[in-house]
Structure formats: C-alpha cells, structure tokens
C-alpha cells in the first residue's frame, strides 16, 4: 500500500471543475485509488460523487492511497495534479 498526502491547491477546493479533472485522471490511470480527508474514511478517488461529497476546501490536506506495481507512479502524478490550481487553467 502506497500513500501520499498533499494539500489541495485549487482556489475553490476539490469541487466543480477541479473535482472533474481529478476523478477523470484517476479513472484514466486504471489503478484503484482512494482519497481521504484527515481522520476521515477513504473513498473511491475515481468517483466524482464521492470526491465532491468530501467537500475538501482549498489548502486542506488529503491522503491518497493505492496498491500494485503502478501505485507509486500514479500517486505521484495525482499529487502533482492536486498541487496545481486546476481552477486557474483554461478549459
């Protein structure tokens, strides 16, 4: 089991567009990844519904976890994504 903890950089938090971009990236990776708020239950990071309902505000840390040979590579990519202000990018 690999884990990473990262603060959400998007100004709006992990809602709306940033949540869409993040969950699409998780789904595209093909690796099951979970996401949890500090002290919270891990949920499927590839589900827009679960990710939105976490209601993670900007600047708060989340923990990503995954298993398997590709886990570290995928988690590193996702950490980079969350550390970017996804809101600032033009559609």
């Amino acid at each position: 089991m690999s884990e990473r903890t990262v603060a959400v950089a998007s100004r709006v938090g992990l809602h709306a567009r940033p949540a869409m971009i993040f969950t699409q990236a998780v789904a595209a990776s093909g690796v099951p990844v979970t996401i949890a708020r500090s002290g919270g239950e891990p949920v499927d990071a590839g589900s827009i519904l679960f990710v939105m309902s976490l209601g993670v505000p900007s600047g708060e840390e989340v923990t990503l976890a995954a298993d398997g040979p590709d886990a570290d590579r995928v988690l590193d990519e996702l950490v980079e994504l969350l550390a970017t202000d996804l809101d600032a990018e033009t559609p």
Binding site: V12, A16, Q24, S47, M52, S53, D87
Partner: protein
Amino acid sequence: MSVADAGPQVQGELHGVGVGRRGVVGPVAQVQPVPAVAADAPLLVDGVAVTGADAQEVVARAFEDVAAALADASSRATGTVRDVLAATAQMADDRALRSGVLTRIGAGEPVVAAIDGVVDMFAAMFVQAGGYLAERVTDLRSVRDRVVARAMGLPAPGVPELTVPSVVVALDLAPADTAALDLDKVLAIVTELGGPTGHTAIIAGQLGLPCLVRVAGVTGLDDGIVVAVDAATGTVTVEPSPDLVDALARRAEVERALEQDTAPGATADGKAVALLANIGTAADAERVATTAAEGVGLFRTEVLFLEASTEPTVEEQTAAYAAALRALPGRKVVVRTLDAGADKPLAFATQPDEENPALGVRGYRLVRTNADLVEHQLEALAAAQAATGEAPWVMAPMIATADEARDFAARARAHGIAKVGVMVEVPSAALRAHEVLREVDFVSLGTNDLAQYTMATDRLRGELADLLDPWQPAVLDLVAATAHAGLETGKPVGVCGESASDPVLALVLVGLGVTSLSMSPGALPAVRYALRRHTSAQCATLAVEALAAPSAAAARAAVVENLDPEVRTTLGV
C-alpha cells in the same frame, strides 16, 4: 409579485405566487415528470421479469446511454448550459454510483430500489456538505430519473418538444431546463416549487413571460387542458370561462395601449422619475435597448457567473460589461457587483459550510474572504468604461454599515469608477441611510431582501409570502427612512426590487421621495401610466396613507381607495 390567495381553494382554480402582471390562456404542456415507478416494480425484458445478472446488464446499459446522451447534449450546447450538462454527464458516468447500484441488484434488490438507495446516499452526503453541493442534488436527482426511465423503458424525463404555444408546467425547472425551452412556443411558466425570486422566475421576468411559482397541484393537470394563467393575481384557472378569457384579452389590449406611451417617466406635474429595467446579461441589455426604458437600474452580474465552475477572467468580464454598455449608449446603466451566496451559490465563491447562508458571507461581504473577486470585477468594469466611453454607475450589494460603504467606494474610485453607490437591503443600512449616503453618490433599495431581513423571513419559503409583502408597514418605514436621507443629502435613491413593478406601490415609493424605479421591462408601461396620472403631491398623500395603515393589506387598500378612479379601472386594481 402578488401574494398567494389565502382563501378557500375553489374548484378549477389553483393559487401561487405570480411574477409580473400579464395573463395568458393556452394549453398545458407538462414537463415530463419523474417516472412514476414503484420501488419494487419488476424490470421487464420482452415482457418477462428479469433479475440478477440480466437486470444488471440492462441497468449498466441505461447508465451508459444516459451519460452518452447528456455528453452529446453538452457538446451541442454553449456556455453555462454546456458546463451544467457536462457535469451531469459525469455524474451519470460515475463508477461508484454504478457499481453501488449493480451490487445491490446482484444481491437481489429490485432495480428502482437499488438506484434510489445509492442516489439517496449521495444526496444525503451532498445535503450534509451544504452550500454549493446541496444545490447539485437537483442534478443528481435528474440523473436518477433519466436512468430509471431508460432502464424501465419509459419516456425520458424533461421538457417536451412544444408544437403549439403552451403553458409550460413543471414541479421545478432546473436552469438547464429553462435554457432548453423554445421560447417562441412558451406562453407562460408555472411551477409547483421554486420561489418568486428564484432563477426561473427571474429569467421568465426578463423574457417578459408571465410566471407563477409555488402553485400546489399544478403538475396534476392533464397535458393539453386549457388554462388561464394570471400573474397579477397568482391564479391558474382550469378551463376558464369565456368571461375570464375576455377579461385577460382586454387586459392585454390595455397593456398594449399603455406601451404606446414611451415618453420619460414623470408625475402629472412633471416631476421626473427615471423608469429603468432590471437585466442579467448583455443580451438582456440589447432587448432593453428596443424598449422605452430610460436605462438599466439593476444589472445583476452574478448571472454571468452562475453555474460557472471558475471565476470568469477580467477579460471575459470586461467583454460582457462592455457589450451591455454598448447596447445602451447614452443611457444610465447601474451595475451591481457580484451578489453571490444564500439562494445564489457560486461554485468558486460560496462557502460550502455555512449554516445560515442568508446571514453569512454573501454580497459585498465576499470582500472579507475573497477580496480579489471584488477587485477583478471593479477592474473589468473600469476597463469596460474605458473601452466604451460609457460610464456605468456601480453599486455593491449587502452593505450593512457606513464603513462598508466607505470601503467599497474607496475601492471603486481607485479603479476610476465615477458613480459609486450601494444597495440598501439590510435594515441597519436603511436606519443609518444618512451616514451611508455620506460615503457614496447614490443608493438603491433592494426591497426583496429588505423585506426578508426586516421580517426575518426566508425569501424561498412560499408559505411565508405574506410576511415578505413589501407593503408591510415596517418595510415601508425603512424605505421611507432611506428616501428621507436621500432628500436631505440631495442624492438619488432608487428602488430595484419587485415592489417597483407594482404600479400602486410605485406611486407610494415616489411619494416617499424615491427618484428612480427599476423593474422587469414588461412592468414598465403600467407604472409609467400610473405615474403620469398622479401629481407628486398626490403621491406624497398616498405615501402618508400607506405609512399610517396598521397592516400590509390595509396599507394597499387605503392607497387603492385614493387612486385616480380611471387608473383603478384601467389597471384592474
């Protein structure tokens, strides 16, 4: 806005809250409702009930089809509608939603119960999170309805294709539904839920469509049955009598006759009262340009931001404001800075965890948590002013203190805005209007919110509509205090709430000292006519009568009693 009739329910008559004054007659077109399927209804394939893996296959395909149809609709749409549809498509494509449903079906649960179980769980989580997410429950429910309909072989829910001009009836209309309407075929919009200041009602008002909200039982009407919709009385009459049809036709004729008067608004003795329009977009500004409105008294900029998932850039905002200013050369345009929060949550500006959003960080208070948003908007307005040579008046919403007014004025003037004002919609600002007016060039009364905060009554609670009546004596007192401060300081005091569109109340407002009235464009002719038939001294007398009355109903009755008789007959009040 008229108030719901509290009298006994008459057969064939349904009551709600009307927006605007117009009345129309036409056939009902029901927006396809939520599929009425029992939670334990069997899933039939070729007439045979299927369960287990076979049912899973049907439901999985239903999710795929719905997601694909929404994505397809999104690709054909533009702007905010495209974003809303794309987000909804992604919900339909959600793997946790789908796998949760399929797992339950695999465990033997009936299809609809399985879908409802998982959707309810997510809906509860969204509601728990509050704010912006709670609003997204509507989108989640619409995914549920589409998947259930698809799986069970029922027609897709939503707005039907209109073949003849119709009265569109719905439980509630999502912004995306409203945007999908073929407006040439819409006579009126009637909803069972929603509020008079909600999204649908505002859009309908701007398009000049009569709209009724909170009409209990209206979704039970048969498709195609003819109804009379009267926004002035808030009444839907099923199979109206020829007399009623005639009366509405006569009223429409009167309204058309009143539209012939396009001279500037003034009382009978020539005291000018600027008659302005409320708008939400640059396209609205272009529509207003063809009317006799002397300008725009309220440009609600949040409409540009609504449903946007990110803050529009300064360049995008500048283009939108410049387009509105260019549409109305030489006419006054009052722009209200972003009024997000409460019933208008924005994805990127609203605090998701507010327990009491109407009393929270909304309107100008956003400057405390997100000053950049305000600065960017002022920058864009100044740039639009430079690009067009038209100077907008700019005002901030939800100002509670003179300090806040001073802070806003300093920021706006630093950007080069020449005319700076604030909204008076919080009672504290009305009570201290003199101090507030010392800081700015003008104020505008938002009577909808002023009534909400004075009467401690949620604007979205239809059952409390009587408390929100702008004729409430306490609300009139605060309007009077504000107008008085305007007279003392020699600065303009406008009204841009729904109250300005009631021709009877408009006379009282002018009598109190209000200098401009802004309303949905459809309401202008009646107000212009009423003003033209009363002198400023008569308006002042009517204002005294209204203030002296002990209740909202008594205030209106006293004023109606003393109206010019011809006006009373013509307007049917």
